[in-house]
């Protein structure tokens, strides 16, 4: 009996090691890497329960191997994670993929995979990627990080051939607001019950991306 268990464990370990990175993911990565540079206009809408902010605009500039650069005339808040279209953050450290099957969305077959890093160096704990394998692009990703919490990205594309999304919705958990008492207006009341219930909330940032200028 013990011999059987040992043999099973050995085979299991070998099976995990033998797993390859999903080919569809590699195809998407290759397609994304073909984008050497792009610039676009961003229209940002923040949807966080305790933050009220008007719609903001910004410009984004990306060049392969460099961090995205943003510019705006106003004060804007941009999500730290979620604009990594090239998947470079995921591909930074070694990982394995696990096929989670497929599902149908708007008449299209969406392949679901899990990405599990194989090194502790990676900030990524687990990612679930939803891929439109026919259009060769990611439509949704659920990212769990070690230090920067979890977030979900929903991507919508203007056309079937598009490589970069026209609309991105990033959902993330956000901690309650700490209020400095000396900054509170005289009319501000503290609803302790409400404050406690607000400890962690879900926030959303909706980004409409237009005027793409892509260089391959």
């Amino acid at each position: 009996m013990i011999r059987t268990i040992i043999i099973f464990l050995l085979f299991s370990a070998q099976f995990v090691q033998a797993q390859q990175i999903d080919q569809d993911l590699l195809r998407i990565k290759k397609r994304m890497d073909s984008v050497k540079q792009f610039s676009a206009s961003l229209i940002l809408d923040l949807d966080v329960p305790f933050i009220k902010m008007p719609t903001k605009t910004a410009k984004v500039n990306y060049a392969i191997g460099q961090k995205m650069k943003f510019a705006s005339d106003d004060f804007v808040m941009l999500p730290k994670r979620g604009l990594d279209f090239s998947l470079s953050e995921i591909f930074k450290y070694p990982f394995i993929t696990v096929d989670r099957g497929a599902e149908k969305r708007n008449g299209r077959v969406i392949k679901v995979i899990n990405i599990i890093p194989t090194t502790n160096q990676s900030d990524l704990a687990l990612a679930t990627i939803y891929m439109d394998t026919k259009a060769v692009r990611v439509v949704q990703s659920e990212i769990n990080t070690r230090k920067e919490g979890s977030y979900t990205l929903m991507m919508t594309y203007a056309q079937l051939k598009d490589i970069l999304p026209a609309y991105v919705e990033a959902t993330f958990a956000i901690e309650k607001l700490k209020i400095p008492l000396n900054f509170m207006g005289k009319g501000t009341s503290i609803d302790r019950k409400k404050m406690r219930s607000m400890e962690t909330k879900t926030g959303k940032i909706k980004m409409r991306i237009t005027n793409y200028n892509i260089k391959y």
Partner: protein
């Protein structure tokens, strides 16, 4: 009436107290601007601390608009104190110098005489607020520049620069109504008390009690909504994301009614009382 008004205006322009008051306001403004700068960066650090985990920030919030908002919060206690001292002097000085009797020997109607004093006091207050507004705007924008404003009023509200500027302008206008109320009260107190030092103490006490009552919850909604200490900081409502203009208008109209009531009481008492 026009002659009475020009005489009162001349007295106000000629007295050194007026310029001391303007100078004092400028000094207070400068001090508040300096502290607002340091306070501003601490406030922003605390407010945006947990947002830093999820967001990059592009642009700065430590700008003239934030400084103006902090200045607005700080000014509404110091400025009425100075205004009350100057405006009460319009009456107490006349009693002290004995000029009240001299004027009353002329063919001047008592109510017209005191009404002219009230009008001049109100005009002086508006002038001081305008001066304060112009100098603070000038200093804040020239030193810190303009930009989006962030305010915490139950929610974290962000306003675009132009919107923030308009809100601050309206806040000064609403604050001016409160200042007019205080100066009319101080003039009424001066009519009742006559002596300068005692009037200053009474006026300062009135201001302190009013400020304390502002934070008290009176349980009864009508008192919380219509009692004058509760109307003093109506300007703060201009920094809610959705402005309730109707409420702001009602509050200011009510405060003006209180102002008229205090002025009417003062005029009535002055008219009935013997000069001496």
């Amino acid at each position: 009436m026009r002659l009475l008004l020009s005489a009162e205006l001349l007295k106000l322009v000629k007295q050194s107290k007026t310029y001391y008051a303007l100078g004092a306001i400028l000094v207070i403004e400068l001090l508040i601007l300096i502290t607002a700068y340091f306070q501003g960066s601490t406030i922003l650090d605390l407010l945006l601390d947990n947002l830093k985990q999820s967001f990059y920030f592009e642009g700065t919030l430590l700008n003239g608009n934030l400084i103006m908002y902090i200045v607005l919060n700080a000014l509404w206690f110091n400025v009425p104190l100075i205004l009350m001292i100057v405006t009460s002097g319009i009456v107490t000085d006349e009693y002290k110098d004995g000029t009240m009797q001299t004027v009353m020997l002329q063919a001047v109607k008592k109510w017209k005489f005191i009404l002219a004093k009230y009008i001049i006091a109100v005009l002086f207050t508006i002038l001081v607020i305008s001066f304060m507004m112009a100098t603070t705007f000038m200093l804040a924008y020239s030193i810190f520049g303009s930009g989006d404003l962030v305010v915490y009023l139950n929610t974290l509200n962000f306003f675009e620069s132009a919107d923030a500027f308009h809100r601050i302008c309206w806040a000064f206008a609403s604050g001016a109504v409160s200042m007019v109320f205080y100066c009319v009260v101080s003039l009424t107190l001066a009519i009742f008390i006559k002596e300068a030092a005692k009037t200053w103490i009474a006026a300062a006490l009135f201001l302190i009690i009013n400020t304390l009552l502002l934070k008290v919850d009176f349980v009864i909604p009508a008192i919380n909504s219509f009692f004058f200490p509760k109307l003093i900081d109506t300007w703060q409502q201009l920094f809610y994301y959705e402005i309730d203009w109707r409420q702001i208008l009602i509050n200011n109209a009510l405060l003006l009614l209180y102002t008229l009531a205090f002025a009417a009481a003062g005029t009535f008492v002055f008219h009935k009382k013997d000069i001496g």
